[in-house]
């Protein structure tokens, strides 16, 4: 029996007819351009054509102060977002999951809290833009309490946090829903058993809930990192990287080099670095899942 017939017998190759079209899209629109980014990063764009420049882009990048500044800002932004996401999402999920309010009431609040998730970054930027105005509502309250006002987007000390807050607002519902789903999938009998043994609320949270949620937490942190690290939309809309480059994120650096300065090669090198950093975070998770599937199968 030839290798080919054995192959054909083991698998049902008609499946490729179904899977194929989607893969053509993924290949053409993700894999091929990704390959192009790598290729461009060793070239530079002069006079409407690419010239091979070797590692020059990377050498220049690593001695570019703006690059390191954007990396620093991006890590502050990303880690701050992840921590606040976890806090808010856990608190809201635990509140929604608490015994008490009827299912109808709970589902109503769950739906209402998911509402910010529907806002695109530019829409959210506009909603918060009016609140951040010098004469806006929050400043009125702050003035009543402290006798001073805050220039949310104009002051380099507050700008990054102001943008972060808007990002937090639009994206926390996703993580809240995921945590709530995780909480609801934990078997009730474990809590009953713990209560029989005299555990209080905090003890069962610490010894039952948290260990059960470990995989989900890992997944959430990785997803959050991968999406927040390349966050662009709000910074472009609200601050354009300013004031004094306090909101200058890596994605904005990439955008400026590529789309405004037309340094296609240089920008691609930035893209490669971003892809590497994100892969270093996503890779282990994917590896973890592949191990888990092997065990299951």
């Amino acid at each position: 029996m030839s290798l080919w017939t054995r192959y054909k017998d083991r698998f049902d190759l008609r499946g490729f007819f179904y899977v194929g079209p989607a893969f053509v899209f993924l290949l053409l629109i993700v894999i091929f351009p990704l390959f192009k980014v790598f290729q461009y990063s060793f070239q530079e764009y002069f006079d409407r054509s690419f010239v091979f420049t070797g590692l020059m882009n990377y050498q220049r990048l690593f001695s570019d102060e703006l690059f390191w500044l954007s990396i620093k800002n991006t890590f502050i932004f990303t880690i701050g977002t992840i921590i606040l996401h976890l806090v808010i999402s856990w608190v809201m999920a635990l509140l929604l999951n608490a015994k008490g309010p009827s299912l109808k009431v709970r589902n109503f609040f769950r739906g209402a809290l998911l509402f910010p998730f529907l806002f695109s970054a530019p829409a959210a930027a506009l909603l918060w833009g009016i609140l951040y105005q010098p004469l806006g509502y929050p400043n009125y309250i702050i003035e009543q309490l402290f006798g001073t006002t805050i220039n949310f987007l104009g002051d380099p000390r507050y700008a990054l946090f102001s943008v972060l807050l808007v990002n937090l607002w639009t994206s926390f519902p996703l993580y809240m829903i995921l945590i709530l789903g995780g909480l609801q999938s934990i078997s009730k009998s474990m809590y009953e058993a713990a209560r029989m043994d005299g555990a209080d609320w905090f003890q069962s949270l610490w010894h039952i809930t948290l260990p059960q949620m470990r995989t989900l937490m890992m997944t959430i942190i990785v997803i959050d990192f991968a999406t927040t690290f390349i966050h662009f939309d709000l910074v472009w809309t609200m601050t354009k990287g300013g004031p004094l480059r306090s909101t200058y994120l890596i994605s904005f650096f990439l955008y400026q080099r590529g789309m405004q300065a037309f340094k296609f090669g240089y920008a691609s090198a930035v893209g490669v670095i971003i892809a590497l950093i994100v892969s270093a975070c996503v890779g282990p998770l994917v590896f973890f899942y592949s191990k888990r599937w092997e065990v299951k199968a």
Binding site: F25, A121, W128, Y140, L174, G182, I223, A275
Partner: protein
């Protein structure tokens, strides 16, 4: 009797949740009220939430500006096209993965999982460059294809797990009776996976409607750009017409809200099963 008593016992908790929800939704509520204020009421001191005199002028002025009609039409056109394309391609692929023994299936599924977290922004240079070269710059086609592709991994993933949960026996019976595979998929499997199709479709629509970066770099002017670009343009124009701006924002979120209210349950189930598997 007992049930009612319980509700009262938990009243403090419910009201705490209610207060927090209101606080979180405040920016959106404030925006809607602002969109009905006349200009002179926008920055009053002390600020007020409700308009003193209601007006719909901001809404009328949007529809008299051709630019915004373009932005909205483009947004609908791009999002609806890419939703349909995405659900068709995703359903085919999900079915293929669910029902056929394919070589290296685990590897493909892992690749799809990884692609869900792919940092799409790094592709902006080749997208810009290639779309200019191929004459796709400032066309609907390129945005529809990109929006479709970036939602595909999620859609394939969700629909595969939906198809997995449908018993194969029904299909086998139909196949023995001489029904073709494609017919089985269209007439038997798809209707049974209705909830999954709706959830993925809505998610794909929301993502396409809200997509901003690629729409920004691959379009020029209101001719082809969707509403997300139109909204971003409004920020920081130093105009004082915040009522008009809030009216446009309200209109831009309204379609999502309407869709979402009807299918909330499916969408939440979809999001949850996508990440925990």
């Amino acid at each position: 009797m007992r049930g009612r008593k319980n509700q009262f016992r938990y009243f403090p908790l419910s009201s705490l949740v209610a207060v927090i929800t209101l606080l979180i939704l405040f920016p959106a509520v404030f925006a809607v009220f602002t969109s009905f204020k006349p200009i002179r009421e926008i920055f009053t001191y002390p600020p007020s939430i409700l308009p003193q005199s209601w007006t719909v002028k901001p809404y009328i002025s949007i529809f008299s500006q051709e630019k915004y009609l373009h932005y909205f039409f483009n947004g609908y056109f791009i999002s609806i096209s890419s939703t349909f394309l995405c659900v068709i391609l995703g359903a085919l692929a999900g079915y293929g993965f669910s029902r056929f023994k394919l070589p290296a299936k685990h590897l493909f599924m892992l690749g799809i999982l990884a692609m869900q977290m792919f940092p799409g922004a790094v592709l902006m240079v080749p997208y810009f460059n290639l779309s200019r070269k191929l004459g796709l710059y400032n066309t609907y086609l390129v945005l529809v294809m990109i929006d479709t592709t970036f939602s595909l991994p999620l859609v394939i993933w969700l629909l595969k797990s939906y198809f997995d949960s449908i018993p194969v026996a029904i299909e086998e019976a139909a196949l023995i009776d001489g029904c073709s595979r494609v017919k089985v998929l269209l007439l038997i499997v798809m209707p049974l996976a209705r909830a999954g199709i709706i959830a993925t479709g809505v998610l794909a629509f929301i993502r396409a409607w809200n997509e901003f970066l690629f729409a920004l770099i691959l379009t020029k002017g209101p001719e082809r750009a969707p509403i997300s670009v139109g909204l971003a343009e409004l920020f920081g124009q130093y105009s004082i017409e915040w009522n008009g701006i809030m009216a446009i924002t309200t209109l831009a979120v309204l379609p999502l809200l309407v869709v979402f209210i009807f299918v909330q349950r499916y969408v939440i189930a979809g999001i949850t099963s996508g990440a925990i598997k």
